[in-house]
Amino acid sequence: MNALEIKNVSKSFSGFRLDNISLTLPSGCIMGLIGENGAGKSTTVKLILDMLHKDSGTITILGKDNGKDISLIKEDIGVVMDEVGMPECLTVKQVGRVMKHTFRNWNEAEYARLLQKLSLPDNKPFKDFSRGMKMKLGIAVAMSHGAKLLLLDEPTSGLDPVVRDEVVEMFYDFTRDENHSILISSHIVSDLERLCDYVAFLHKGKLLLCEEKDVLLSEYGIIHCTVEQLSALDKEIIKYRKETPYGAEVILPRKDAPEGFKLSPVSIEELFVFMVKEAR
C-alpha cells in the first residue's frame, strides 16, 4: 500500500497556483520535498491535511481519501509544521496531558523518552522556548502517538547541527518499520539527500520532478568544461547547463557522456539548482 498518493491536485490563490501536482510515496519510504520559499511546499502539506480545500484532484492517505473522515486519518499522521503553534503558556507536561486526550494512541512513555532525548525542560512555558526547542517539542508530539506517516514541513530549521543530526537519525529510525513513511520538506538539501529514498522538486507551484534518489544519482552526472567545449557538445544530450565567466557546468545522462570529459557525480542540490534556474 502507498502511504500517500497525490493525483492531479491543483489549488489557486491570488498570485499563486499549485498546478496539477501528482506524487506517490510508497510505505516504508522517505520522500523529500525540495523547493524555494513560496514554491508550494507548505501548501502541499496543508492540502494533504485538508486544512486547505483543493480545487481539483484526489489525495489518498494510507489508502483513505482525505476528503472523508480526515480527523480519523490524522490519528495516524504526525505533523511538524514550519512553526509549532503550541499555546504559549503551556508547559511540556501540560502539552503531554492535552495530547493524551487528543490522540487515541498517545504513548506517555515514548513522549517522556523523547523529551529526555531532546533535552526539553518539564516546567518551562512554551513562550520561553527557543525556536529550536519549539521544533523539538513539535517533533516529540508528532512521534509519540504511533503515527504511520510523518508530514514534516521544515522540521530541522532552527536546530543546531548536532541536534539536527540527532533528529535526522530519529526520522531514519522511524522508517525502519516498513509501515512507516515520511514526507519531509526542507531547504537544507543535504539533510534530505542523506535521508530520502525519493525526491520531489517543486518550483513556483509546479512539480519539476519526482523520482527515486538513487535512480537520479546513478542516471545523471556533471561535467565541468569551457564555454567553447560546451558549444561543441551535442545539445540533445544536455539536460541542464550553467555558464559562468570561468567556464561551464553541464548535467547530462551518464550513458550519453562524451569521451574526454571527466564525469563527476551530481548531488541532489546541484540537480535542483540547475533545474530551477532552467525553469526560470
Binding site: S71, K74, M86, P87
Partner: protein
C-alpha cells in the same frame, strides 16, 4: 474534544485569573449598590468574552493553524470554545444568583418573581454577548471580529442602563417585563444555538 477543553482550561487559568478578581469586585459592588444592574451584568459579560479572548491567544500563537494537524473535526474545535464560555457563564450566573439571593434574604427584600426576572435578564445578556460575537470571529478571524466585541461592550452598557431604569421605573413596567421576559429568554437561547451552528458552518468553510 477533551484535549481542546483541557488546553482552554489551562489557558483560562493562566490568562484570565484577573477576571476572577474583577468579578469578585463587581459582585461586591452589586451587593452594596442600590439596583445598578451594570455591576451584576458585567462579570457575566466578561465570562462570555473568555472564548473570544482565547481565540485571540490561539491566533497569536498560531494554534488556530496547528490544531488543523490534530484529529479534531471543525465542529469539535468550534464547540470547545462555546462549551468553555458556557461553563464560565453558568458558573458566574450561579455565583451571582446565590449572592443576590442571600443579599435579598438578609435585607428581607427577597421576592421570587423579582429574583427570577433578574436571573432571566442575566441569561439574556450572557447569551446575546457571545452569540453575536463568535460567528463573526469564526468567519473573519479575531482582528476583524473584534469590532463585534466592541459593539457588544456598548450593548451591555446600554442594556444595563435601560434595564436599571425599567426596573426602578414602576410596577406597571415591571409587570409588562415579567410577561415578556420568558419569551425573550427562549429567543435568546435560540439565538445562542443558532450562533453555535453558524460558527460551525463558517469555520468549516474557512481554510486554516
Amino acid at each position: 474534544m477533551k484535549g481542546l477543553l483541557l488546553k482552554d482550561w489551562y489557558m483560562t487559568k493562566k490568562y484570565f485569573r484577573y477576571y476572577l478578581l474583577v468579578a469578585i469586585g463587581f459582585l461586591f459592588l452589586s451587593l452594596v449598590s442600590k439596583g445598578n444592574l451594570f455591576f451584576i451584568f458585567y462579570p457575566c459579560f466578561l465570562c462570555g468574552m473568555i472564548p473570544v479572548n482565547l481565540l485571540g491567544y490561539d491566533e497569536r500563537s498560531r494554534f488556530t493553524e496547528y490544531v488543523g494537524t490534530f484529529p479534531y473535526t471543525k465542529t469539535q474545535i468550534v464547540s470547545a470554545k462555546y462549551l468553555i464560555g458556557l461553563f464560565a457563564q453558568i458558573a458566574m450566573l450561579t455565583v451571582t444568583g446565590i449572592a443576590q439571593g442571600v443579599k435579598k434574604s438578609i435585607t428581607h427584600e427577597f421576592v421570587l418573581k423579582e429574583f427570577l426576572v433578574l436571573m432571566m435578564l442575566l441569561l439574556i445578556m450572557a447569551a446575546i454577548t457571545s452569540s453575536l460575537t463568535l460567528p463573526f470571529i469564526f468567519k473573519y478571524g479575531v482582528e476583524k471580529g473584534r469590532m463585534a466585541y466592541y459593539v457588544m461592550t456598548g450593548f451591555v452598557c446600554a442594556g444595563s442602563i435601560i434595564f436599571t431604569k425599567l426596573l426602578l421605573g414602576g410596577n406597571q413596567v415591571e409587570i409588562k417585563l415579567n410577561a415578556i421576559l420568558p419569551l425573550v429568554c427562549l429567543v435568546c437561547v435560540g439565538i445562542y444555538l443558532l450562533s453555535w451552528y453558524l460558527s460551525i458552518v463558517f469555520y468549516k468553510k474557512r481554510e486554516i
